[in-house]
Symmetry: C2
Subunit: 608 residues, 2 copies
């Protein structure tokens, strides 16, 4: 194998140019083998093997700085830059992250995972180079799907007047995670079809020079094109067309589902389900809370439940609009559902800021918008949630998925700060359902009231179906639900950690004989001060349990409320940090969030 | 006066077209008179009088929806839509906000103040219209300076494929608040100079149709152009050129300083300083803490101190770079300073996301970036601070100005949530100086250490100069400073509220005979747990005092720390809300943050 000799870009450069096509085949085979066993970003990596070979063949990394947008497509780059074994040796598959990572290699400049950041980040590298009087190349790779994010535009605009070496390779595979959306993509299409010539050109309008290469999977043509740009003295875009998923037929054919994929059988492309492991405490609590057999059926996920509920509303009410920002599958809006919803579905592309603002405008103008997203990405719309939506107090509905310790666990995809972010914005009502019935009741209320923006923190620990309809009047804001009144100790368990709070109550009863009061607050953005004050009569300790970061979170508000009183309060959650590729139960244990540790704490606290 | 007859757009339409030029003159005179007495956005409003007359002459507001970006230029619109007296009657000058406001008028769709939002907000209005099967016009006005913000681009991109009526008027006056920056502006210039024709066109690249009108201050030509676009069935940009500050010579000549201006003398253009009122408690505390006569001299503002300090560093160290995002005067980077700093100054335009990412890239590549901003606007870069900067832990420095109850008091320009936002991001070190000496020591440390991103919350209550050099070693993170050790009660006063905490200590001593411990935490992003734990020996009550929102803030962390203990904690600050055009002392009083109320609280709490 040619690949065996490559431990650095210098080794790559020793291979004759006419053998690089063969090397690409080898790398592609390695990728397919690892991805089948391990899961990961299939389409993006298979499409850019030749590009990354060519980049390292022409440029001199790490002197020349190579920056990959999202960096989910950087596997070939990793293989070439000394990390081959993380792809060829199954025992080392987990050694490297799925993204560029400066802790792994001097060839990686940033830990990246969110889209549309590469040009802005690299603008700083270029500026620092120029200040130091150096002359190396700064090269960025950005996919067409990432172009729609505001930060990418800002980056083009800023670099467009820098008048210095800056090479941006636009990797155009004709789609985002799902279809591309936006007027810009008409221009990209025109440029593709015109072989780089069209009546207008976004990139030159931004102040960049522009080159076009049709066959972006031809390594020799790529090398020629990049050689021409090396050491250029101004910003230039090289627009190349690549085939997403190239070399693995299922990924070529079904590009959306193969953007990221679980482990699969190479021959059939079918998903391989790992044998279920032992449930951890949180998962066991969720399972224990799950009384209804429905949980086992096809609808037993909040994503599918959401999609069905929304499709039903769309069908019966023309005012309903579902918005997503590039990730419709977050709410299980399959191609079929998107087509069926028609004009009542809007994918704005990767553009969370506009998604929130559009939702505000829709709500203001009489429609019923529901914007569904992954918590980690909506961080990009913090100001829009505050300014465009909440100052205006328009009744848009936000569905926050996978904000949880049990959400995505790459450091760049964490959503542990959603409560710190959304829980502290005035006018916003942020709700935390503990089961499917509450979730549906919250959806019904949120989409019929016209008073406030409402966000719902969709549980990420698995769906609980209690079989009992929720008849709560959610217009009575900040009314907590006390599911059991005991005495001495009260446990406030928020959202998907409520079943865990139930388990804790059981444990306290068994081990300490405590009849703990159990509270399901439902509202994250306010306190039920009457209920909390009433606890002072016959409780001395309140525990709070939340699925996210403690700092800025919900528990701190309870602590502040009781601050002037004799009530003791202990907050449980995750200490402020950026954990990477962690195991949830371990992270919780490190933070003392286990039934054993919490029971011990209570034992000590009530003895004082 | 023609103006006297106008109480609605219907009245405007009764005026013959050839008299509208006269009306524009009258409105301009009214604006100058009010602005001279009241202060406000001078340049933007004087430049768009004809445009707003033409819009209301052609369109049928509020059936047709008119949305103004930032809406700082909407005064003529307000005058035409029934709010004339707020501009002609001095006793009513304060009745209306400086921005569009749905609470004032059905002709206003959003409460707006941040830039670059209009197209995205209006995309929702248009979508709701289409869903309802209606056919009115959706019209937005956006200035050239606002185009550089990512949300504007996202909006263009999304609307560019909507294929429906959407009219965007690009009001091109050739500058932002300061100079325009970005590659896009080369394209705008080419379009201006080519009478709407250039080799490429940003707006058509976004999928918009495009029209050009050179004389955007000619009301009859504007009317003709808008009539042509009315009821158009697809998105179109009308690019017009206007003169910022038109009709008031000083504002025409010195556009940057007349973008927004304090009250002024019309004849000379000189600023009129209001007679100083009685100091409120916070201001008095700040004054009392100010021992040095230097406070009275020319350098006695944190803005000027910052600028001088930064210019000195720039001169002596080529690695230093100052970044601003469209508002260089935030850190007193005058035109002269910008020119002198040369390539060591970067104004990215209104593009906070890229400013943060660029700072991260600069720091990663060996430079020393200092990004200065108003707290309210950096909210747009929440995700970039977290992802691009803090996950990568690059040593960029952020200077946060006017995050304070004493900052801008328009609801759209509040920065009361900066602690909730930046105080809860992992890896970030957020510092709160209480005086000039601490500020300088923090700047020195922040720009020499290479371990973490550091943000500094620059005080907004006025500069305190103690005359005592600060020799703190800030590399010992989260080490609080105890300036006095008493017993019983401890007061933690953060940043610019530390002098206020000193006043409270004095009051507690005088009224209750309490020798309160005084703590200046300096670090917002972490607790000095050793010092706090030590207080438990001989204190029963800790008060926290912060200049911002309580929820998600600093005090809650202290409450959570002491939650499991017998220590009582009382947090002082502002309850979560969106106050608008408030008086700081009143807002504080409403929240119980007065010396009298706090003293009363202590009296009660220690008696329990």
């Amino acid at each position: 194998m040619l690949l065996d000799s490559i431990n650095s870009p210098a080794d790559l450069k020793k291979i004759p140019e006419n053998e690089l096509g063969e090397l690409a085949k080898e790398i592609r085979q390695v990728l397919i083998t690892k991805l089948a066993a391990h899961g990961g970003h299939v389409g993006p990596n298979l499409g850019t093997v030749e590009l990354e070979i060519a980049m390292h063949y022409v440029f001199n990394s790490p002197v020349d700085r190579l920056v990959f947008d999202v960096s989910h497509q950087s596997y070939a780059h990793k293989i070439i830059t000394g990390r081959r074994e993380a792809f060829t040796d199954p025992s080392k598959y987990d050694e490297d992250s799925g993204f560029t990572n400066p802790e792994e290699s001097e060839h990686d400049w940033f830990n990246i995972g969110h889209t549309s950041t590469s040009i802005s980040l690299a603008s700083g590298l270029a500026k620092a180079r120029d200040l130091a009087g150096d002359h190396y190349n700064v090269v960025t790779v950005i996919g067409d799907g990432s172009l729609s994010g505001g930060e990418a535009f800002e980056g083009f605009d800023v670099v467009g007047e820098m008048g210095t070496n800056f090479i941006t390779i636009v990797n155009d595979n004709g789609m985002s995670i799902a279809e591309n959306h936006g007027g810009l993509y008409k221009n990209l299409k025109a440029l593709r079809e015109g072989n780089g010539v069209a009546s207008t050109n976004y990139f030159t309008a931004m102040g960049f020079d522009y080159r076009f290469l049709k066959d972006g999977n031809n390594v020799e043509e790529l090398i020629a094109a990049l050689r021409e740009l090396k050491d250029i003295d101004h910003p230039v875009v090289l627009h190349i067309c690549t085939e997403k998923g190239l070399g693995y037929e299922p990924a070529e054919t079904h590009k959306e589902i193969w953007h990221w994929h679980n482990p699969f059988d190479i021959a059939t492309g079918k998903t391989v389900h790992a044998a279920a492991g032992k449930l951890d405490e949180v998962q066991a609590a969720t399972a224990a809370a799950n009384n209804a057999s429905a949980a086992a059926d096809e609808l037993a996920s909040y994503e599918k439940l959401s999609a069905q509920w929304l499709m039903d509303k769309i069908e019966h009410d023309p005012r309903f609009v579902v918005i997503t920002s590039g990730t419709p599958m977050v709410v299980n809006f399959t191609k079929e559902r998107r087509d069926k919803a028609g004009k009542q579905f809007v994918d704005v592309g990767i553009a969370e800021e506009t998604a929130v603002a559009m939702a505000s405008g829709l709500a203001k103008n009489g429609a019923i918008p529901v914007y569904a997203f992954s918590g980690t990405f909506v961080q990009r719309a913090y100001d829009q949630i505050m300014q465009d939506l909440c100052i205006n107090d328009n009744p848009a509905v936000l569905l926050d998925f996978s904000s949880s310790v049990y959400g995505m666990n790459d450091v760049t995809h964490l959503s542990l700060c959603d409560i710190a972010m959304m829980g502290n914005i005035p006018n916003l009502v942020y709700l935390a359902p503990t089961c499917a019935e509450e979730y549906v009741a919250m959806l019904e209320w949120a989409t019929t009231q016209r008073d406030h923006p409402v966000a719902i923190r969709v549980p990420a620990t698995g769906m609980v179906v209690t079989g009992v309809k929720d008849t709560t009047d959610y217009s009575k804001l900040n009314t907590f639900s006390m599911t059991h009144r005991g005495s001495g100790v009260a446990i406030v368990g928020i959202g998907d950690f409520f079943p865990f709070a139930e388990s804790l109550a059981k444990r306290l009863n068994e081990e300490l004989g405590i009849d703990a009061t159990l509270i399901n607050p439902k509202f994250i953005t306010g306190l039920d001060t009457a209920m909390l004050a009433d606890l002072e009569r016959d409780h001395t300790l309140v525990l709070t349990l939340e699925d996210g970061q403690l700092q800025g979170g919900f528990g701190e508000k309870i602590a502040s409320f009781y601050g002037p009183t004799a009530m003791r309060v202990k907050n449980y959650g995750i200490q402020k940090s950026f954990p990477d590729r962690y195991v949830p139960a371990q992270l919780l244990a490190q933070n003392g969030v286990t039934l054993a540790d919490m029971t011990d704490d209570v034992r000590k606290l009530i003895a004082e």
